[in-house]
Symmetry: C2
Subunit: 506 residues, 2 copies
């Protein structure tokens, strides 16, 4: 926490205490920017000089700077040093409505995806499409590499039960009654602490609303936006059809943002210009796997500020980043314009139905009212158990253990693909629970058929492509976290068998 | 269960085994009627002669007959004996839509409540209205007799924890993943058994949908009915404003059914005639407390059959009946036209967020689709724990213990009111967790103010009156189950102080 780590004076004097210097430095710098003590455009000391001042290794400072650049807090340009980014200025929440501040009508949108229809894709469907060939094949897939589920065999039953027992024993009687629609205060309090520490989220308990999964949260937000008069919520070119359908079901249009090799494009002159909100997987695009580049993080927040729009940040697997510290949440850049949505579904288990929103102050009342209408949905003992699980450090320990396990699997995946199918490029491997294996153009369906024939459940990128987006990518989305340890190696072998130029293929 | 208890031959031969003869006889008779083996109009043997045939006490048979008359399965008329009721004929589900079979437009509705507006009532509000007088009074009520919550201090923590531990330990890994939107099959299986046994519900696991509370279930049903083209769902003259608001929010009209001294009137010539469904608390009207008389139970099911409509049966406290066996669920009369909604909120605790629907076959697909859109919401470990809790008999033991405790409180309430306010009539005492104390006309607001002044949270019947219903009743709705044992006597004394002609009043 910022308070634990740093005290700022007028001369940028930081008093750092405790072991986690780098994270603490980042928190302190974020807080200084957020509060306005470091103004936009301010040039920071060089990493060498700050490190000397602080008695820290220079790399620690340089890494912190680089991360904050990646998150959009700072900018770094050759010759001009590291500066506080423009849009990271302090702000006061404005009571604007989402429909205000829109661009003039008649603007042309040169980036909107071409209307050419790709083949309809069974997005989010429960299984791969059956092969065109009518030959018999395994009825139930023997191997499961579908993305979206963590290794369920790793659910920490004993630790969870311990937390549940403690929570149930200590719960006040009123916890068993009808509760606050925002969720139990005990849980919101530890969540606020955790999200600030682990994800750089600006979270206060009174802005957190516990919900029964990302989908439940998105449904509530969609209702609120619609009743505010928002017509369109922009979505990424690739994503879950379930989420788009939910927005459509709430009466919202879903214009599709274009993408290029750097990720989703968020120009105001694009579909964003007419949208009241945008749904984004900024830290780890689902399913393609990249992090939104710093300049685009800044750009989309700038758009939200200028237009009065909202960014809906789907931080579904933010805890899992392997080769460096996690990219902090976009929400920290502007808590009044970003709705942060997190979940225990990937870090712990979907079966718990525990998720949370951190809301701009201006939306709290409306979201609570919308949730009240459908009743509060998460059981109080569960919420108290999760609060205990988080507060006791059991959650951190579990996430650390799973991060090691998933990273090992990722490394094995990369090595196996390199050995069996050296032409196949693996991307999206820096984070998360899945990777994308690029396939030669036009071969995705054939590989999916081969997978089905081999008893391997896996999805193609086409299954996540929005209907209006041209089919320019062929690839497999490989959920390497999905199988239990005991089934992982055989699933990996099955995958290798269906890849192009696999020496041991069928 | 029927199969365990009886085998019917052409000559009405029942082979009863096991200890619970009366319940078993009722199940067997219901099943015989449901299956068509006993046709409508068939005259049953006299209780004396059937008792002799079965080797049972005559009272046992007479009681079973009386209960089945109360439930609408049988009719009993002076001189014509006991017969199978007309509407209890066997039926095949018809694929009619709810809008078919409506009466001709232009029919006059003589029973619709007069348009005279009663004073607006803060239905379902969190607290009694502040007194008109500006004198200071206790900020937080010292005593709580608001209806709708069981004694939370009695939540069986140790037993629940035991069930949770067993369930979590035994759960298959897949239980931690994304689940069946209907809920865990383990829970639906034991629920089907329990509901058939305890509530006379015709339940099969594949027709049960677990939900996160009655409100969640009603929201789903409302959505489905609306998308089927239903415009109106009739409601009772008294009820929770929250429920009416939920239907309105789903785009449905809520015409109000009239009531008389026998309860809610359900003539087809009334508001029901233009409705696609009706929401009823048939077993125990909330808040007035009566059971819907047998002829009206029959009448509303007849209406549903003839019109293709649905009865939404809110069986919120069906487990709690004190002076005789519970009135069986209306649903048993026609599982294809009655949606049964039950909950653990009164029998166990609202904080668990566990409830269930038993659906007509024709609605299952649509309700599951509606629920899928908002995601499945109940945690899998909770569902498995509740399955274990039910299956192990812990639920029955808890309900039995609470029934004794609540009955004792009810008896104390009746005795205290008789002693302190002998003119005050107490009604609705045969069942449930609350009673209604009739007040002299025009005095309800004054008594509520006195209650607030005495630190007593309690609601008047006016707070549950639909806005269009004339204010012909004055009374208090006393939730005698609400306080913990330690606070019950003082709450009762506070209540007696505010009643008319209370010798020890303020």
């Amino acid at each position: 926490m910022a308070n634990e780590w740093a005290t700022f004076g007028a001369d940028l004097h930081l008093e750092l205490r405790g072991p986690r210097l780098r994270a603490g430095l980042m928190d302190a710098l974020r807080e200084a920017v957020r509060s306005g003590r470091l103004e936009a455009g301010t040039r920071l000391p060089s990493s060498r000089s700050l490190a000397a001042d602080l008695g820290m290794a220079r790399n620690t400072v340089a890494d912190a700077y680089a991360e904050l650049v990646a998150e959009g807090w700072l900018t770094a340009r050759q010759g001009s040093g590291t500066r506080v980014a423009r849009r990271a200025e302090p702000r006061r929440p404005e009571p604007r409505r989402a429909e205000s501040g829109r661009p003039e009508p008649g603007r042309v949108d040169p980036h909107r995806a071409a209307p050419r229809r790709a083949e309809p894709s069974p997005e989010g469907g429960p299984a791969v499409a059956p092969p065109a060939r009518a030959r018999s094949r395994p009825a139930t897939p023997a191997h499961n590499l579908k993305a979206g589920t963590p290794d369920l065999a790793s659910f920490p039953r004993a630790e969870w039960l311990k937390a549940y027992r403690r929570a149930l024993t200590a719960a006040p009687n009123e916890a068993f009654g009808y509760g606050d629609p925002r969720g139990r205060i005990e849980l919101r309090t530890v969540l606020a602490e955790y999200l600030a520490r682990a994800r750089g989220v600006y979270a206060r308990p009174e802005r957190i609303v516990v919900c029964a999964g990302f989908v439940h949260g998105l449904m509530l937000i969609g209702q609120v936006l619609r009743s505010r008069g928002v017509r369109d919520v922009a979505i990424e070119s690739y994503g879950l059809g379930l989420h788009a359908g939910l927005l459509t079901g709430a009466g919202l249009g879903t214009p599709v943002l274009p993408f290029d090799e750097r990720g989703t494009r968020v120009e105001e002159s694009g579909p964003l210009g007419s949208a009241g909100a945008v749904l984004m997987t900024a830290a780890h695009q689902f399913p393609l796997g990249g992090a939104l580049p710093p300049d685009r993080r800044a750009e989309v927040v700038d758009w939200a500020r200028a237009s009065g729009g909202f960014v809906l940040e789907d931080d579904y697997d933010g805890e899992f980043r392997y080769d460096r510290q996690p990219v902090g949440a976009l929400q920290g850049l502007d808590p009044e314009r970003v709705v942060y949505l997190g979940t225990a579904s990937k870090s712990l288990a979907p079966g718990l139905r525990l998720a949370w929103m951190v809301l701009p102050e201006s939306l709290v009342g409306e979201v609570v009212a919308a949730k009240g209408v459908v009743d509060w949905v998460s059981s109080a003992p569960d919420q108290l158990a999760f609060a205990e699980f988080l507060g006791s450090g059991a959650y951190d320990r579990h996430v650390r253990a799973m991060r090691l396990r998933y990273r090992r699997r990722r490394d094995q995946l990369v090595a196996a693909v390199a050995a069996h199918s050296p032409e196949t490029r693996v991307s999206g491997i820096a984070a998360g629970l899945h990777a994308v294996l690029a396939l030669p153009p036009g071969t995705e369906q054939e590989v999916l058929r081969a997978a089905a024939w081999n008893g391997l459940a896996v999805q193609g990128v086409g299954q996540f492509r929005r209907p209006t987006v041209p089919a320019t990518l062929d690839g497999l989305v490989v959920g390497y976290a999905t199988p239990p340890d005991s089934a992982w190696q055989s699933a990996l072998q099955a995958l290798c068998r269906v890849l192009p130029q696999a020496p041991g293929g069928v």
